[in-house]
């Protein structure tokens, strides 16, 4: 029986962002941009979608005079990610 995959996570960029955040305590917007090879605009949109869903928290601060955006996965995000991986497993050949 195939389980339904969370459509919010079943997209390459959002899944990549969530995977990086799951494996780290927090990550900078520029780091996410570097590892995902995404454009700033697209990454901002996808991060916003994840934030609106409550999967991640976004903190805006300043590093010297430069603005800085830091992302961190929320407990809801961890649960959603775990559920997504469990659902993915049901698609694998037994």
């Amino acid at each position: 029986m195939f389980k339904e995959l969370d459509p919010l996570l079943h997209s390459p960029l959002r899944l990549a962002v969530m995977s990086v955040l799951i494996g780290s305590h927090e990550a900078d917007f520029m780091y996410l941009k570097k590892v995902t090879n995404a454009t700033s605009g697209n990454l901002s949109i996808q991060i916003d979608k994840l934030r609106e869903a409550g999967y991640i928290t976004v903190t805006k601060s300043f590093r010297g005079k430069m603005p800085r955006t830091t992302c961190r996965v929320s407990p809801e995000g961890i649960t959603a990610f775990e559920t997504y991986v469990e659902a993915l497993k049901s698609y694998l050949p037994q």
Partner: protein, 220 residues
Amino acid sequence: MDRTLSEKESFELIRQMISTAKNNLQKGMGKIFLLWGYLVALISLANFILLVVLTGEAQYNSYYLWALMGLGYPVHWMWIRKIEHARMITTYVEKMMTWVWVAFAISIVTVVLGLVCSSLLVMNRMTMPGQEFLHWFQWLFMPPFLVCLYGLALFISGKAYQFRPMVTGGIICWLGALFLLVSLHHPQVLELQQAVICLCALAGFVVPGHLLSRKEKSHV
């Protein structure tokens, strides 16, 4: 544009992204190790030489050299600020290790402050026989305690970062602490203590610091 992933692609993407975060090595930490390692090694070496050269009461004044450790703090904070400024990702291991070293610093301050206060409290009221000896003797416990704490922090960090030189350094510090405790009654205990502190600083901080710096360069 969003495209749909196959299940296999999803797993591969997750694996790939998690591994990028895991392999991250914070640049600049090697320098911090070298700063404290060289500072402790040089002060203990100078202290050792003064203990050998000087005689009588003057010998004990050589310990004031340790006040030079204070020079490390402004440099330490300046470099930490630089590291934090350049930091793009914080892994769970890094977060945990920060707290281990904070706990290490608190433990060091506790031991030093505790012994200094205890000494000041009895300094002018030594009435009981043997109290003067005990007052002198209590200071001998400081180096083994501190070296033991070096071992603890280094061992945990080395295991967490899977960095063998740090683990080895930690073990050497523990052996050094054991040796210092066993040799508490040795006639040349003061000189021995400074020599062991110097060796432990070299093995625990200087050697791993240089290797860490080299490793950081190869990851750039």
